[in-house]
């Protein structure tokens, strides 16, 4: 299980815009660097990030090698109803990471 760090408020008022900050531990090897012997290091990055709110996709991002290592993604969503937020990262070499958090909307 890949390590991720996520900040999501536990409670929110209905209709409030909440900010979600995510950080995934990943080297994001960009595929342009070489070893000391001159061999190209193959690309190994996270290519996609998806956030679903009670099963509905609210945010999606495609990442490219120009994202820094341990990619940080911060975005916003409207707290519509109580439920769970599912975050999923997918990448090269079968990398996947998931995180789910519940939110109570009053």
């Amino acid at each position: 299980m890949a390590a991720v760090a996520v900040t999501i408020p536990k409670t929110a008022k209905r209709g409030e815009v909440i900010e979600i900050k995510t950080l995934a531990a990943h080297v994001m090897e960009n595929g342009f660097r070489r070893t000391q012997t001159g061999e190209l290091i193959p690309r190994d990055i996270i290519t996609q990030f998806v956030c679903t709110y009670n099963g509905v996709e609210v945010f999606r991002a495609e990442l490219y090698p120009a994202m820094a290592a341990n990619p940080l993604i911060a975005f916003t969503t409207v707290a519509t109803e109580s439920g769970t937020l599912e975050l999923k990262w997918t990448g090269d070499n079968g990398y996947t990471a998931t995180h789910s958090a519940s939110i109570t909307v009053s």
Binding site: F32, E62, A66, A68
Partner: protein
Amino acid sequence: MTSRRQFLLLSLVATPAIAQLDPNIAAKRKASLEAAIRKVTGGKPVRPGKVTLDVPPLVDNGNTVPVTVSVESPMTAANHVQAIHLFTEKNPQPFVFTAHLGPRAGRAKISARCRIADTGNVIAIAQMSDGTFWSDTISVVVTLSACLEDGLI
């Protein structure tokens, strides 16, 4: 004061290092950036405005550059930002990220950290639900390059 002899000697020493670089690199980078923007916009005009790109103007370390893109939009079902694209001018490939938003986002504001290879422009393009494209460009100065460890861009 460099004498003619010293200059010729120097140029002999310097030539092999320069020869490793593609002489058309600037033109190629420009073409790949234009191709990337065309891929996103489909040839539609991109107007400056509405988008605010926040990047530090002087970057010490190009490996982690904090970037915030915000777009003026009511984010309603009828009028919202569909996608935010971020490009860099001097990287080996111009894409940084593409974020797909919708009315559920509430606010069109994205933060991330990117790598910037060399001093140049960073461009954010917002795709609105009415099919228009808006952009913001910021020129940044990078002292330590990312992407290529040996500094040859």
